[in-house]
């Protein structure tokens, strides 16, 4: 056997860390029953690995080694502290002392990741806290990275995480995969967190950067992990497909100056065709299972767009049909607006305008700039310049993102020059 160079070895360790730290952390949280102690134990375990593995070689099952060393480091620390503290807390710590060989089996470790996901996305935590905790504990982002991604102060991000951990401890939120009857509802809250993270990366809710790719990539990775852990849940396949199909258009949806390019004007050769074929395969599988829902249907709509050879060959009838189903199972004014746009593509802008006027008269989506942007677009296509200008101005007042604002301003300028 050729002896490994030191550099190769440290590369190997680095990769091991990247591959294993999430799983090891998830298991240590279960064994120690405390997020902070588990993080510390994880750190100690990798430190021990750095010291011991160069001499002794990498163990056969590094994951089990790390879990076991992390556990004993935590027990050591606990024993040291216990000499100075009262013994009040001992009973709660007992799980860590009981060595159960099954604890370190791969299957049990996989379940730990799932337990951790459901704990971080527990509906009794606020959505902001769920997102921050998920990114911190499951994706391994630092508090600073989370703060930067969500444009909040690092102190705010840290507080959200600390409070969430305190609530998990105080209200005794258990570390478990929900029972079969509660799974759909609890899964929903996990999917919501994943999609929120994706969207924050895909279309930042404010500020200049239209895409913050890292968050989208993280959300896709999280979705795929969930897919591995729960392979027969259609909505997980659906959400991963939806994210892949949306993400596939990343390179085509903005100009080099960061201006928005609408779907029908995008250069389709810039789309990521590997992601599209992966997404389309997943959406087909999701649609073949019973119990698919809103994510799968939205992915199916995205797949119809992706499979159209050009914008004017898009099958808008198929898209309208999918929106009809979506509206039946998930009635929402945003879906109605999207359906109105699809209908306008089939039956002309008058038909779309009529539907939008219904939404406006019901006082729906009053703060949603896309509503007025769509209204403006229909007027523009009907040659009703004055009404189009008014609607674009209304949309501009509501739009927050720079690229979207620039797009609306460009359309307004074109109409004024007519």
């Amino acid at each position: 056997m050729v002896e490994e160079s030191e550099q190769d070895f440290s590369k190997k360790l680095e990769q091991l860390y990247r591959n294993e730290f999430r799983r090891v952390l998830a298991t240590l949280i279960r064994l120690l029953g405390d997020f902070d102690q588990a993080e510390e134990a994880l750190h100690d375990a990798f430190k021990a690995a750095l010291e011991q593995w160069p001499q002794q070689g990498i163990p056969d099952n590094p994951r089990a080694w790390l879990v076991s060393v992390g556990r004993f480091k935590a027990i050591d620390k606990f024993r040291r502290d216990a000499r100075f503290d009262t013994f009040d807390e001992i009973p709660e710590q007992l799980d860590a002392f009981i060595v159960n060989p099954e604890d370190e089996q791969d299957e049990c470790l996989e379940d730990d990741q799932l337990r951790l996901i459901f704990t971080c996305c527990h509906p009794s935590l606020s959505v902001e806290a769920q997102v921050a905790l998920t990114l911190r504990e499951i994706c391994g982002l630092t508090t600073e990275e989370i703060a930067r991604a969500f444009l909040i102060a690092p102190k705010t991000a840290a507080q959200r995480i600390v409070r969430a951990k305190a609530k998990i401890r105080d209200a005794r939120i258990p570390y478990e995969v929900p029972a079969h009857e509660q799974l759909p509802e609890r899964l929903n809250s996990v999917l919501q967190v994943i999609y929120l993270v994706f969207n924050e990366g895909y279309s930042a809710s404010s500020g200049h950067a239209l895409t913050r790719h890292d968050l989208s990539a993280e959300a896709i990775r999280l979705g795929k992990l969930l897919m591995e852990l729960l392979p027969s849940e259609p909505e997980i396949l659906g959400i991963v497909a939806l994210m892949l199909l949306q993400d596939s258009r990343r390179a085509a949806r903005t100009t080099s100056e960061g201006d928005l390019i609408l779907l029908n004007e995008q250069d389709r050769t810039l789309w990521n065709w590997d992601q599209i074929s992966e997404g389309v395969t997943l959406v087909r599988r999701a649609l073949s299972l019973s119990g698919f829902g809103a994510y799968t249907l939205q992915a199916a709509i995205a797949a119809v767009h992706a499979e159209a050879p050009s914008a004017d060959k898009t099958d808008w009838r198929e898209i309208t049909g999918l929106y009809d189903v979506l509206l039946r199972i998930y009635p929402s004014p945003v879906v109605e607006l999207n359906r109105a746009v699809a209908i306008a593509m089939c039956d002309g802008p008058e038909a779309g305008l009529a539907l939008i006027e219904v939404l406006i008269s019901q006082g729906q989506l009053e703060d949603y700039h896309f509503l007025y942007a769509a209204q403006a677009d229909f007027h523009r296509r009907l040659g009703q310049t004055d009404q189009a200008i008014l609607a674009y101005q209304h949309a501009l007042k509501l739009a927050q993102q720079e690229p979207e604002r620039r797009f609306l301003q460009k359309r307004l300028a074109e109409l004024h020059n007519k």
Binding site: T86, D88, S124, D170, A171, R172, P174, E176, Q182
Partner: protein
């Protein structure tokens, strides 16, 4: 761990038509008997309407009292259960069966049981 389940609704028993109140009582009787059997039950009772409530403050040694509940909201506190549950998920499952949850809402509060509090209060 003990959890306090506060039942909030727009109407308390006194404000319901008699038939509704009777039906609601029957639902509570059944629920209570179920959680006594399952061992989750610790304590419970119904609260008289907010019109019977008084809120007091003591400032500089003087008691000032005011008519009505501490916060006036559309939903009012109508009763409570104290339950014993393994963890929050079990508490949620039990509390979801409180009949009031289907009409109004139930707030679940973990009850502190730490050594410090018990010590301060002189309880063991």
């Amino acid at each position: 761990m003990k959890y306090l389940c506060l039942i909030c609704a727009e109407k308390v028993m006194e404000q319901m038509p008699q038939a509704d109140a009777d039906e609601h009582y029957e639902e509570y009787r059944e629920f209570t008997s179920n959680i006594r059997k399952s061992g989750h039950f610790v304590d419970c009772n119904r609260l008289l309407p907010p019109s019977a409530a008084i809120t007091i403050r003591v400032r500089k040694g003087k008691i000032s009292s005011m008519d009505g509940p501490f916060v006036e909201t559309k939903e009012q506190l109508g009763g409570y259960y104290v339950i014993e549950a393994r963890d929050l998920n079990e508490a949620i499952q039990v509390a979801a069966k409180i009949p009031g949850a289907a009409r109004g809402c139930v707030e679940i509060r973990p009850i502190a049981n730490d050594a410090q509090t018990l010590d301060v209060l002189g309880l063991d």
